[in-house]
């Protein structure tokens, strides 16, 4: 079979073979043609063909493993490489690009960049979730269980809605802009008063002042019936 043939007309098994051969040439710094691998991605993305995705997985699995190792936060996750390899491929094929969106990918290199970016995304989201575990009571410290529980609702907006409801409840109770700033940066960004003081030069007289503002707003919130009700309902839902 000639390499000059239109890849879009080739049967899948031929395409697979050419892609593997041309990839091998690429790694050996020989002349190579990436059109066959590109065509595999095109069929997988535009037609959602699971068989093609499996070929792509086998073809690029080792490369994706390398990218997982490359992520500077990978070691902090405590997870194994295969977990993130699978999640990265899932992220890619779950994205379901439209034909117009697919036109943003002019070549194989751009598609592989996207696959690589999926590696970054899944590890980064995992690390974000691990940060949340630190806020859980010590008896509930179970990072793996917690991450898994959130994975099932990853694309759900429920978490975001809950945050928005709580924020609108809290922000309405702030007395001035500085309280609002301390509230926002303390709980939405998780910053300490020292960091808040540095972040807004000239806004606060001292780190101690940021602490006093935080103390006052926490004291007020602790007495607040509306917040008590919200937190009690939330605790009830989680049980």
């Amino acid at each position: 079979m000639s390499l000059n043939e239109n890849p879009q007309k080739l049967p899948l098994e031929v395409l697979q073979e050419h892609c593997a051969n041309e990839t091998a040439h690429y790694w050996k710094n020989k002349d190579n043609n990436s059109d066959f691998c590109f065509e595999l991605f095109r069929r997988a993305i535009l037609f959602g063909d699971q068989d093609v995705w499996e070929i792509i997985y086998r073809q690029y699995e080792s490369q994706v493993k390398g990218w997982v190792r490359l992520h500077q936060g990978f070691a902090d996750t405590g997870e194994n490489i295969d977990y993130f390899v699978n999640r990265a491929f899932e992220k890619f094929w779950g994205r379901k690009f439209s034909p117009i969106e697919f036109s943003n990918f002019p070549n194989l290199r751009s598609l592989l960049s996207y696959l690589k970016s999926c590696v970054f995304a899944v590890i980064t989201d995992y690390l974000r979730t691990l940060e949340l575990v630190d806020f859980k009571p010590i008896e509930e410290h179970n990072p793996v269980a917690y991450v898994n529980s959130l994975e099932s609702i990853e694309d759900n907006i429920a978490e975001q809605m809950e945050g928005e409801v709580l924020w609108s409840l809290l922000s309405g109770k702030m007395k001035d802009e500085r309280e609002m700033l301390v509230l926002y940066d303390s709980f939405i960004y998780g910053l300490k008063p020292r960091e808040i003081y540095i972040r807004y030069p000239g806004t606060f007289e001292s780190i101690e002042e940021v602490y006093r503002i935080k103390e006052n707003l926490l004291a007020r919130l602790r007495r607040d019936e509306e917040l008590k009700k919200f937190l009690a309902e939330r605790a009830g839902e989680l049980e």
């Binding site: 592989l112 960049s113 995304a121 602490y211 103390e215």
Partner: protein, 226 residues
Amino acid sequence: MTKLTNTQLLMYLDGEADAELEGKIRESEGLQKRVQELAHLQNQLKIPLYRYRCPKAQELVEYQLGLLPGDRAEVIVNHLSGCPHCSREFAELHVFMDRETPLATFKKLVVQLVSGITDIGQTRLTPAYEVRGSADKLLIYEAEGIRISVDIQDDVDASGHKVLVGLITGMNAEDYSVQLWSAKNQIAETQIDDLGNFLISGIYPGEFELMIKGPEVEVQIQKLQI
């Protein structure tokens, strides 16, 4: 019974307490109970609120790859200018992606080492080297592990003027200052905070040079369009 304020207890929780305060709290069951109550309240608020407005990492990468529609990209730009976590992740993303196969078409810019020869980490900088920067509002400059993000925004306090919001990662920039020059005139100078952030406001649009000056190294970003 030791009388302590909640501010002192909050400082203890943040690891900001001195040895004497720590000792008092450790010795008192009552104080420990108050500390736990404060920690519990804070965590009850943090769990639903922490980073709830942050875009998923996938959106950050699609923004970096130029795949987001304009309105959503605008939201991400605004978010990046304020969120310390996402701006850090975004800088990490650039490092990660640039190690191989960058998709975006980067505008080539030049950063020159104008004086001083130093080791930063284990890496010796060369007198002149190329860096990459995107052509959008958020410009990224990098070389030898040092990353300088420059975000240009409208100055809400001065119509027609701009604000330059910067972030330096990959080096300890605490003792560094930032100068903005136009046609050999210094327009502004500011300090870099210990998180690597700097800000210059009230800039009338034009072409500038950005100088980052420190005890060991000076970095010059030429032809910065604001």
